[in-house]
């Protein structure tokens, strides 16, 4: 809980008024290394370019008279300007490389640079999805090897590799369930989803044409087994349960839940976003689960990239495997790989529900995830789960005296610690604490999720944070929490030191400006 050794002022000025960066005291509007950057539409021009191309051959065009004559109006920059523009913008971002990103449910762990290097090998980066299979045996080999890892780590029967993110994986799993039910002529209509679930769960069920109903939770933050049992029946296609759940707790009754659902003729979908807590420690297959997506961009360290891309392979039980999507990779006894697509599906995979994206899934993420798995090995992955859980419990126990921790009484958490803003005064909320953490040099925790806890703060440190980093984080968190409890007015206007103060989200939504348009004055002047 010590402060940083560097940068501590030798003369302490405790009662100093906090200097806000309320104005631009410089001519340029910049503040030394904090440089504001205009939009490319303001600096670039349609006749500038950062590429040099050879002249086109002198032949007649064959565009059937559809030549684009009107302006496209996308500005260009020289390479020098382009690099500086995006470098400057990048410097306004927080990211794992900059510091702790303790976003609960997001598993923001270190993204190893070897992964990046391997994904860029030309044999992976520069191959076309429709090349003849003989020319992409290595790529199919990667998919197959990764599939094997996922199956062994989860103890499941099969795996669908094409889903492009977690939500797409959920869709895959739900479609498998639906296909399996339809195959037996059972047109069930309801999927049960707990209120604590991630928004993608109900959205996916609806996207696949299901009605969504709630699963009640008990006071420990877990599924209420008896209430669930009571709701099960011939209309229930399945349940979607997150385990470890979004309160950061393991569902101890998981096996009993699965048994009950199966008994009622339904299937069990598990949201595996939180697999990082149990990888190498527990196999979902041993808990009766039928389908579970795995966010490679969480547990298996592929970068989040400011919003994606992700990858969401879905492991499947024996009952659901026949319904998985096309295309997929099969390994012959002689080590040769085949690609199963529509053409041979009738023979090889007759019950598939079909294709869910154009090609073979997120190859660029597969190479990264496989690199990560090979690096850690079975022993390292087990250590990952243990360290992730250790770090989270350490935070939970270090802060439960100052922050309300709604489920801390019920035992240890898994990979994330849940707190709430109960006890904050002067109208301060989770949001204010979050913005205060920004000033402290941290990315805030997940706010207001799960919905079941009022003012929720979900803190997931991951295993790649050192004890020193976590101690500093705890120190800062404690300090801001103390201020929130004391009702410190200045938290309401935090952050004070970020590239921007609080942004007006209401105005953004009320009067959406989603694309840049020439300012009136300019537009007129140009006429």
């Amino acid at each position: 809980m010590s402060m940083l050794a560097a940068g501590r002022p030798t003369k302490q000025e405790e009662n100093l008024i906090m200097p806000e960066q309320t104005a631009n005291p410089t001519h340029s509007g910049n503040r030394a290394l904090m440089v504001d950057e205009p939009l490319i539409f303001e600096t670039g021009s349609p006749d500038r370019s950062g590429v040099d191309l050879p002249d086109a051959p002198q032949v007649e065009s064959r565009l059937s008279g559809l030549e684009r004559t009107s302006p496209i109006a996308v500005p260009g920059l020289s390479e020098a300007e382009m690099v500086r523009h995006y470098t400057r913008l990048s410097r306004q971002n927080y990211a794992i490389d900059v510091g702790l990103v303790p976003l609960g449910s997001c598993t923001m762990k270190h993204n190893p640079r070897l992964n990046e290097k391997m994904a860029r090998l030309k044999g992976f980066a520069d191959i076309h999805p429709l090349q003849p299979v003989e020319s992409v045996q290595g790529a199919l080999g990667v998919i197959n090897e990764l599939a094997m890892w996922l199956i062994k780590l989860t103890g499941m029967h099969g795996v669908a590799m094409t889903p492009k993110a977690g939500a797409h994986g959920e869709l895959c799993g739900i479609l498998c369930i639906r296909a399996a039910l339809e195959a037996r002529g059972d047109a069930r209509e309801v999927i049960l989803v707990p209120e604590s679930a991630h928004g993608t769960n109900p959205a996916t069920a609806a996207f696949a044409g299901y009605k969504v109903e709630d699963i009640p939770a008990n006071s420990d933050g877990r599924v209420d087994l008896e209430a669930l049992k009571a709701r099960l029946g011939p209309d229930v296609a399945g349940v979607m349960i997150t385990n470890p759940n979004t309160c950061g707790l393991f569902e101890p009754d998981m096996k009993a839940i699965s048994d009950a659902v199966h008994e009622a003729g339904g299937f069990v979908y598990c949201d595996g976003a939180n697999f990082n807590a149990i990888v190498g420690k527990v196999r979902p297959g041993d808990l009766g689960i039928d389908a579970m997506h795995i966010n490679l961009h969480k547990t298996f360290s592929t970068p989040h990239g400011g919003g994606g891309p992700g990858s969401g392979p879905v492991v499947l039980s024996e009952a659901l495997s026949p319904y998985g999507p096309l295309p997929f990779t099969a390994r012959d006894a002689d080590g040769h790989f085949r690609l199963i697509e529509e053409e041979t599906a009738d023979e090889d995979h007759p019950h598939s529900f079909g294709r869910m994206s154009a090609f073979h899934g997120q190859m660029g993420m597969f190479t990264r995830a496989l690199t990560y798995m090979l690096s850690h090995g079975a022993d390292g992955l087990k250590q990952v789960a243990e360290d992730a859980v250790l770090n989270a419990n350490y935070i939970l126990r270090s802060l439960e005296d100052i922050l309300d921790a709604p489920f801390a009484h019920s035992g240890p958490c898994m990979h994330e610690a849940l707190f709430s803003d109960k006890g904050f005064t002067n109208g301060l909320t989770t949001l204010d604490l979050a913005k205060g953490m920004i000033d402290e040099g941290y990315h805030p925790m997940t706010m207001y999720f799960p919905l079941v806890v009022h003012g929720a703060m979900l803190v997931e440190p991951t295993e790649t944070e050192s004890k020193a980093a976590i101690d500093q984080f705890i120190g800062a968190f404690r300090s801001v929490a103390e201020r929130a409890k004391a009702g410190d007015e200045r938290l309401k206007t935090a952050p004070h030191f970020a590239p921007r103060r609080r942004l007006d989200e209401t105005q953004a939504a009320r009067n959406p400006k989603l694309v840049w348009t020439e300012p009136e004055e300019f537009a007129e002047a140009a006429e």
Binding site: L39, S49, G50, L53, A56, P57, Q58, V59, E60, S61, L66, E67, R68, I72, A73, G76, M82, V98, K109, P112, M118, G123, A125, D126, I127, H128, Q131, E134, V136, G138, K152, G166, A167, H168, L175, R178, H198, A208, P252, K281, V282, N295, H304, G306, G307, F353, R355, S357, G361, S375, G411, P412, I438, S466, R500, L503, A508, A509, K513, V515
Partner: protein, 452 residues
């Protein structure tokens, strides 16, 4: 282990702070019988960088990299030269390892980039607005169909025969479950597209017509009449662009009246990558914005009145609206969108137009060279950088044989439409700026040999 900073001493002291004896005390909620004791069997133990690199390189070597040989594949994924500075930018840790920009005060880098991306896409497509990306073109296409259903409250979509068959497959997969009806048939080998037939099919139950432009066989057709007819029937025109570079040379779908334009953005910045990750582009007319799927970045001001950007209109999205959301998408293709935008910013209108004409003229030259071979006929009278050849033999075995000779000749229609006998002689050949004259000669010679 190199990624794990905790030392054994750290672990001991942390357990002590927590007040438990061992790590297993933290896993008490896991039923005894489900707890594994040692590392999972049958999987290798941890390995150093050198060993992992050797393993991955051995796998990579088993693939024919496009850059190592003459290469002419397209059909929804195009090989363009990506400037070195694009990769530099997407490797900036602040972009690469950032989360979704839900905390806008410390995410202006990502947000401003998305705003630039949205504007570029909207302008390229000729529509009012665009979102912050979808998974890829195929899923964006299905999302557009569901969006049209929400807007028109009708569930009958007409898919052009020129739509990429994989996009059709994706839509069919979903439609099976959502009970949307999809009218579609496979394309014919003909210089003319199916515009006329589409015009005839539109009626008052139609929610949308989905047209690929240029289409899967490389043809380009004016969609203006289709847009007008759709409008008469209060149906929407959805245009699908799988090769955005084309829009540097040909009119945008928006200019022709398309209501929604979706596409695959992989051509710019992203690379081939065996099919993913790619980046779905999604634009539409302003009036439909509240029915759009996916994230949107919008301009606003901060507490001091400074311009800033935020994710907005999130009441459309799963994390707010849950089962009532316009889509279930959450993680999208952020970093690919950045790559797209960085590449587009290098090009600018001038560079994009040059690039497009370079592609087109090279394609024209190549088409002439190849169709001069006996046993080869050029189907298209118009095309951008991709055209369909009709061979006097089955194209598929020829493509395979040429691959063995280290020439990647194109995509056979037999691969795309295995069940369509009449298409078996078709070969779709794409020609980008990365194709050299030598490559064309190599292909011509090999084709001559294969057809002799």
């Amino acid at each position: 282990m190199r990624y794990l900073p905790l030392t054994p001493a750290d672990r001991q002291s942390m357990l002590a702070t927590i007040g438990v004896d061992s790590i297993d005390d933290l896993f008490v909620d896991v039923p005894e019988q489900a707890r594994l004791t040692g590392p999972i069997h049958d999987l290798p133990m941890h390995a150093g960088e050198m060993a992992v690199e050797a393993h991955m390189k051995a796998l990579a070597k088993k693939n024919h990299a496009a850059g190592d040989m003459p290469f002419f594949l397209g059909a929804g994924a195009y090989r363009h030269h990506v400037p070195a500075s694009v990769d530099h930018i997407i490797q900036r840790g602040e972009f690469l390892t950032a989360y979704t920009p839900y905390q806008p005060e410390i995410a202006q880098g990502t947000l401003q980039t998305l705003f630039e991306f949205q504007t570029q896409v909207a302008r390229l497509f000729g529509v009012d607005v665009a979102n912050a990306s979808m998974y890829d073109g195929s899923t964006a296409c299905w999302e557009a169909i569901t969006m049209a259903r929400r807007i028109t409250k009708r569930s009958k979509a007409i898919l052009s025969s020129g739509l990429h068959p994989h996009y059709v497959s994706v839509a069919r997969t979903m439609a099976k479950f959502t009970k949307d009806s999809l009218a579609y048939e496979a394309p014919r080998v003909d210089a003319a597209t199916d515009i006329q037939s589409l015009l005839d099919q539109i009626d008052d139950e139609t929610s949308c017509v989905v047209v690929q432009y240029p289409d899967i066989l490389g043809r380009i057709a004016d969609m203006s009449e289709l847009a007008a007819r759709a409008k008469q029937h209060k149906a929407l025109l959805i245009a699908v662009v799988t090769e955005p570079v084309a829009l540097g040379a040909i009119m945008s779908p928006g200019e022709m009246g398309a209501d929604i334009v979706v596409g695959e953005g992989q051509s710019l910045g992203v690379g081939l990558q065996f099919g993913g990750p790619y980046v779905g582009l999604f634009g539409c007319k302003e009036k439909y914005v509240r029915q759009m799927p996916g994230r949107l970045c919008g301009e606003t001001v901060d507490a001091e009145g400074k311009r800033g950007f935020v994710l907005t209109l999130s009441t459309r999205e799963q994390h707010i609206r849950r089962e009532k959301a316009t889509s279930n998408i959450c993680t999208n293709s952020g970093l690919c969108a950045l790559a797209f935008t960085a590449h587009m910013t290098l090009l600018g209108e001038k560079g994009l137009r040059q690039l497009a004409m370079l592609n087109h003229k090279k394609a024209v030259q190549t088409a002439d060279r190849l169709s001069a071979i006996s046993g080869v006929e050029l189907m298209n009278d118009s095309f951008f950088n991709e055209f369909t050849l009709v061979l006097d033999k089955d194209a598929r075995p020829i493509v395979r044989a040429l691959a063995d000779q280290r020439i990647l000749a194109g995509v056979s229609l037999g691969r795309l439409y295995p069940d369509e006998e009449p298409l078996a002689h078709g070969l779709v050949v794409a020609v980008t700026e990365t194709v050299s004259d030598d490559d064309v000669e190599a292909l011509a010679t090999a084709l001559e040999g294969a057809l002799a």
